[in-house]
C-alpha cells in the first residue's frame, strides 16, 4: 500500500467517501468583534476533518483500503472559545512514515462520536480516557466507563471550564484553609 503524502487523504476521502468531510470551521463572529486576542490556539484545517457519524467508515477505509492499520493515538482537545471538542486520530502505516491525522469536531454540549472499538480494539482504553476526562460519548463502545477517576465522579476534569481548584472535591488552594 502506498504511503500517502499529507493532503492526499482529503482528496481521497472526497473521491471515495463523499459526505465524510466536514465543512471548514468558521470562527465565531464574536471573536472578530473583540479584535486580536493575544493567546489562542488555532484550529488546523489542512488535515482531514470528518463529520462524527462517518468516522467508522473513514477508519475502515484507512485500514482496509489504504493500509494504515496502526492507530497510534486518540486525543481530545477542548476548544472553549469555539465551543467544540476536537478529537484527533493518528493513523500510521506499519511500514513506516508519518501520520495520517483525522479530526472530528463535536459541539461541547453534545459530544457524541460513534465508537470504533468494535472493529478496532486498540481504541478501547483511549476512548474511555476521552470519555473520562472530556465527556465525549462513544456509543457502541462495549464498556464505556471512567478509567482514571472513580465511577461516581461528577464532571469532566480536563475541560477548560472545570475549576482547577475549589470544586466540590478539593479545597480552594491559595486561599483560607
Amino acid at each position: 500500500m502506498a504511503r500517502l503524502n499529507s493532503g492526499e487523504l482529503r482528496e481521497l476521502l472526497e473521491r471515495d467517501l463523499p459526505g465524510a468531510l466536514a465543512a471548514p470551521h468558521s470562527p465565531p463572529q464574536a471573536a472578530e468583534a473583540h479584535g486580536e486576542e493575544e493567546n489562542h490556539p488555532v484550529l488546523q484545517e489542512h488535515d482531514a476533518v470528518v463529520v462524527a457519524e462517518r468516522l467508522p467508515d473513514v477508519a475502515r477505509y484507512l485500514r482496509d483500503q489504504l493500509g494504515y492499520s496502526y492507530l497510534s493515538h486518540i486525543t481530545a482537545v477542548d476548544y472553549l472559545r469555539e465551543g467544540l471538542i476536537e478529537v484527533v486520530y493518528f493513523f500510521y502505516h506499519p511500514e513506516g512514515g508519518g501520520p495520517q491525522i483525522v479530526r472530528v469536531r463535536v459541539p461541547r454540549d453534545n459530544a457524541v462520536i460513534p465508537s470504533i472499538t468494535p472493529f478496532w480494539p486498540g481504541a478501547n482504553l483511549q476512548e474511555r480516557e476521552a470519555y473520562d476526562l472530556f465527556g465525549v460519548h462513544f456509543p457502541g463502545h462495549p464498556f464505556l466507563r471512567r478509567v482514571y477517576l472513580w465511577d461516581e465522579f461528577e464532571g469532566y476534569p480536563m475541560r477548560k471550564d472545570f475549576p482547577k481548584t475549589g470544586d466540590k472535591y478539593t479545597h480552594v488552594t491559595g486561599g483560607e484553609e
Binding site: H40, P41, Q44, V77, G96, G122, L125, F143, V147
Partner: protein, 378 residues
C-alpha cells in the same frame, strides 16, 4: 452468568477475585478484577487510576520548562527518553534546532536507558515467575553502573530532567566517556551470561513458551507497540519507521519474534539490548567534538513561547512508542498537553492475552508486557 458445572460430585462456580492494587507483582498500583473458574481466567477487567496525578492538567498550568521534571516521572524507569520526546515536541512546535553533539548525547542516553530498562524488566519478569531475585539483581548490578553515569551527567540517577529545548542541560566530558567505554567493554559479557543463565532454563521454557500469545494478525489492531508488538512478528520500531534525532545514521536491526508468546518477548528484549550496544558503539565513535555546543544558545528556556499551533513527537522508549501531543496557544504554557503512553495502550491487550490461562500465568504475562504505572496513570 454463573459458570457452574457439575463435574460428577463437585460443583464449581465462577469466582471474582481482585488482584491488586497493593500487590508485589502488579508492577505498581494496578488492580485486575478477574473472573476465574478454578485457576483458569475467564475474564479480566483492569482498573487504573491509583497513580493518577493529573499530569496533563499540570502541564496546562506550568510553563514549558517546568514540565520537564514532571515528564521524568511518567515512566520513571526511563527518564531520558521521556525528556527527549517532550523536548522534541516543543522543538517541533517552536522550530528550534538542536546541535549535532546534543543529538548524539541524547541518543547515547536513550540507548543506555534502554539497556538498563530491559535488564530490569526481564529481572522483574523472572521475579514474577518465581526466580527469587537472582536474575533481577544481576540486571540491577548493570543498571547501577548505568545510573552512576546518569548521575555524573545530569545530577540524579533516575529523575534526570537532563534534556532542554535545543539540546541537553550539561555537556559530557572525556572522563564520562571513558567510564562509558569501560562499561561498554563489560556489557557483552553480561548479555552472554544473562542468556546462559536463563535462555535455556527449563523452568523458564515451560512457563514462558506458548503462554500469552498475541497473534500477529491482530497485534496491530490492539495498537500495541514496543517489544510486545515486535515479539509477535511485526517489525515496527519508531527509530526505523520515522527516524528522529540522528537514528538514521546508525546501523542496527529491528528485532522481532515469531510466535508472540512470553518467551519471544524475553528473547526480543535480550537481543534489543545487544542492538542498543551496537548503536552506542557507533554513537560514541561518531560523537562530534564540543565545538558545536550542547545547547542551542538562542533559546530562552524559561520564557519560551512557541507560536500557536500543534506538534506531535514520538520516541521509541523501551516500553513502546511514547508520544507527546502539544497544542500551543502562543503563550508560555501549553493549551493541551497529551501523552501517548505505551504502557497504557499495551494494557488493552491484557484481558485477551490472559483469557484461558492460569492466575500464575497472568502475573508473568503482565510482567512480559512491562508496564510502569507512572505512565499508565500519568
Amino acid at each position: 452468568m454463573i459458570a457452574g458445572t457439575f463435574t460428577g460430585t463437585i460443583k464449581t462456580e465462577e469466582l471474582q477475585i481482585n488482584i491488586g492494587p497493593q500487590h508485589p507483582s502488579t508492577h505498581g498500583v494496578f488492580r485486575m478484577i478477574t473472573r476465574i473458574d478454578g485457576e483458569t481466567i475467564l475474564g479480566l477487567e483492569p482498573v487504573f487510576g491509583y497513580l493518577h496525578r493529573n499530569h496533563e492538567q499540570l502541564g496546562e498550568v506550568s510553563s514549558y520548562l517546568q514540565i520537564i521534571p514532571f515528564t521524568d516521572r511518567l515512566d520513571y524507569f526511563n527518564s531520558m527518553p521521556n525528556n527527549q520526546g517532550y523536548c522534541m515536541a516543543v522543538e517541533k512546535l517552536a522550530g528550534i534546532e538542536v546541535p549535532e553533539r546534543a543529538e548524539y548525547i541524547r541518543v547515547i542516553m536513550a540507548e543506555l536507558s534502554r539497556i538498563q530498562n530491559h535488564a530490569t524488566a526481564l529481572g522483574f519478569m523472572l521475579n514474577d515467575m518465581g526466580a527469587m531475585g537472582t536474575p533481577l539483581l544481576y540486571g540491577f548490578r548493570e543498571r547501577e553502573k548505568i545510573l552512576d553515569l546518569f548521575e555524573a551527567a545530569s545530577g540524579a540517577r533516575m529523575m534526570c530532567s537532563y534534556m532542554r529545548f535545543g539540546g541537553v542541560a550539561r555537556d559530557i566530558d572525556d572522563e564520562w566517556l571513558g567510564e562509558l567505554k569501560k562499561l561498554m567493554v563489560g556489557l557483552p559479557a553480561f548479555f552472554d551470561e544473562f542468556e546462559r543463565l536463563l535462555s535455556e532454563n527449563e523452568i523458564l521454557l515451560s512457563r514462558a513458551r506458548n503462554v500469552g500469545i498475541l497473534p500477529k494478525a491482530v497485534a496491530l489492531d490492539y495498537s500495541v507497540t514496543g517489544p510486545l508488538l515486535r515479539g509477535s512478528g511485526i517489525p515496527y520500531d519508531v527509530r526505523r519507521a520515522e527516524p528522529y534525532s540522528v537514528y538514521d545514521r546508525f546501523g542496527f536491526d529491528v528485532v522481532v519474534g515469531s510466535v508472540g508468546d512470553i518467551y519471544d518477548r524475553y528473547l526480543v528484549r535480550v537481543e534489543e539490548m545487544r542492538q542498543s550496544l551496537r548503536i552506542l558503539e557507533q554513537a560514541v565513535q561518531q560523537l562530534p567534538d564540543a565545538s558545536g555546543g550542547h545547547l542551542n544558545p538562542k533559546v530562552k528556556q524559561q520564557s519560551i513561547r512557541p507560536p500557536a499551533g500543534e506538534a506531535y513527537a514520538r520516541v521509541e522508549t523501551p516500553k513502546g512508542e511514547l508520544g507527546f501531543y502539544l497544542v500551543s496557544d502562543g503563550s508560555g504554557r501549553p493549551y493541551r498537553y497529551k501523552i501517548r503512553a505505551p504502557s497504557f495502550i499495551n494494557l488493552t491487550a491484557l484481558s485477551d492475552l490472559a483469557r484461558g490461562h492460569k492466575v500464575a500465568d497472568l502475573v508473568v504475562i503482565l510482567g512480559s508486557i512491562d508496564i510502569v504505572m507512572g505512565e499508565v496513570d500519568r
